[in-house]
Symmetry: C2
Subunit: 378 residues, 2 copies
């Protein structure tokens, strides 16, 4: 018998206390009690995003909030700049195409973040661009983008900076107002220690000006409807996933008790531990700018990269993710965000060693574990 | 101490066994195990909708599936006919406006269903209409539409028949294929005994022909993406609410064990019991064509209609819904669908009697309960 240890970069493990909240009796959402819940959740999410702007809670995957950030912002024929360095950058691009935007794709090699200079050039070449769409942590390549530096560039122009923070916000530094991010999007199933099913979005005053001036093509994802309902006394335009909202309050209370900055430090330490273990085992980290919320390791030559995560899951109930798209069979990814602790990381490294050995890789058992432990002991 | 008894027409009560499913450990969705769950859910939902067509599971409120049924079907400038006899008929109309359709509203008085003749006339007057949008149970007025009769009219034309079955499917007869419905939409939080958060949609071959020919403006609600993912091995295009899908299998197994037709009969009997109780208490049923899934009673003269549901909730923990929009303060609504049994109905009627008496209405205590009991004893 092996306990389940989930290392997929979403969904991530959910604390038992949060799971139990989901099992409490059903209740109605058009009540004063629920309005207070939504008010509290909005307040907690403002803390997580580092913003004074209201945060809207949508019922759906993170992608529905990404849709809101495109469909309410870019009118058909308007130009949007998209940084495309992985599967989730591609999603911004697909959203733009779906809604008739003129999409300028900035293709960066997978595993590489865009430089602020690249964004500055693109804005110069396309002064009509209404927004720049980026991804703080590109989950498919486990690469982090320096949003703060890019925000400085975008702030000088009329364009908005839109950030997909789905697999970073809550796990790594993100300061929406201080950095000058215009639209931030996140989801429940990553650093927030919840199941999938809620999406969050906040907009700066600059963003609201553009949204108000835009005849969008959104209904379910219409940000104006969410703003109006929230202002009308903490309401939502469509039936909310009320049990998820109640559970979110428990998860966010845990986050607040720990402190966001402490969580950022701990998440980074767990990521550094995995990177140190990889080095000790002779493995390479895939990304040039590795994220702290998810780590991608290159599968070493001679090892079957599609088998590696499967063997870990099947033999040891330790479940990392493989690669997606063109990285299929080439990397193995471990989340270090959310409800994951130092000893879970040691288990992951130990299972990695054992699976690598099974697949023919020469492993000095315990070398990775010791290297990780050294980092975690700091 | 009074136990909570929820009679709001969504969310409805969720069985304890289903709630406990929500509390099981988090798991990853890109696995063979989850694909089998989605395959099974699709199969169960085909049974519930009475169709051989695949049923797509979207993460969101029922409204996101309504959006899919408009945004993927009606191109900007095309004509759609909407039956508007309450808040949810209005939603079809708003969706059409949001996506640039030419919306022909058939306004029927609230509490009245549209006649097949009205639909036939509208189709004759607008032969270019690509679809007719209807609501099987208009929750805001507790009125049922004869979808079977309307389907016969629409089937003779090139137009599609789209049905919002959110607060009817699973509770009352609905036979998508046998009746000739082209698009059916439902949600998790009504007859399916689940929390809000999942939406379901199925499309006939005739509907797919139109969807394929339409350059829609959907991304998150793009039916083609859901069809492609399902065909690719029971996948979904965006991160699904996987814990809800697992819980849905439990709820649907309970529905199957009871049998859909038995549930329809039992739901009708509960509704008839409430209607009989109302009559015995001298109250009127609001609708001319009362639904079996939710019943609206007219608040009698001299009773404060906004207070009535509040007193029931506050004093007895029995929670019906009041009226919405122009019916605010004028009706009180009780769901009879989902996880509700005969003795819950007796409690609701007893609490209604007690609250009416408190609010100054002359009540012959037990008269309503006895009338309901007579029906339930059949």
């Amino acid at each position: 018998m092996f306990k389940q240890r989930l290392f997929t970069p979403g969904p991530t493990p959910v604390p038992e206390e949060v799971l139990l909240e989901l099992a409490r009796p059903m209740f109605h959402h058009r009540t004063a009690e629920y309005r207070r819940m939504l008010e509290q959740l909005t307040l907690e999410m403002k803390y997580v995003l580092g913003t004074q702007a209201d945060v809207y809670t949508l019922t759906g995957s993170g992608s529905v909030a990404m849709e809101a950030a495109v469909a309410c912002v870019v009118a058909p024929g308007e130009t949007m700049i998209v940084v495309r360095g992985g599967k989730f950058g591609e999603r911004w691009s697909e959203l733009g195409e779906a809604f008739g935007a003129r999409v300028v794709n900035l293709d960066v090699p997978w595993g590489t973040p865009p430089s602020p200079g690249l964004i500055a050039e693109a804005l110069k070449a396309h002064p009509d661009a209404v927004a720049v769409y980026t991804t703080q942590c590109e989950t498919s390549t486990a690469t982090v983008t320096d949003i703060e530096a890019i925000a400085k560039v975008v702030a000088k122009t009329p364009a908005l900076l839109v950030v997909d923070g789905i697999s970073s916000i809550g796990a790594m530094p993100f300061r929406m107002d201080a950095w000058g991010v215009d639209i931030a999007v996140t989801g429940s199933q990553k650093a927030l220690m919840l199941p999938p099913g809620l999406a969050f979005i906040a907009c700066s005053a600059k963003a609201w000006k553009k949204i108000e001036a835009t005849k969008g093509h959104a209904y379910y994802a219409d940000l104006k409807a969410y703003r109006k309902a929230l202002a009308a006394d903490w309401d939502q335009p469509y039936t909310p996933a009320n049990v998820m909202v109640r559970a979110a309050l428990k998860a966010l209370a845990m986050i607040k008790a720990e402190g966001l900055e402490t969580i950022w430090v701990e998440t980074r330490r767990r990521a550094e531990a995995i990177r140190a273990a990889a080095k000790a085992l002779g493995l390479k980290v895939y990304s040039e700018a590795p994220s702290d919320s998810v780590t991608a390791l290159v599968v070493p030559d001679g090892v079957d990269g599609e088998q590696l995560p499967k063997v870990m899951a099947k033999q040891y109930n330790v479940r990392p993710a493989g690669g997606q798209g063109k990285l299929k069979g080439k990397i193995v990814r471990f989340t270090t965000m959310g409800y994951t602790d130092a000893f879970d990381i040691l288990a992951a490294v130990a299972a990695l060693e054992m699976a690598l050995a099974k697949l023919g890789y020469k492993v000095d058992f315990g070398a990775g574990v010791a290297a990780a432990q050294k980092v975690l002991a700091q």
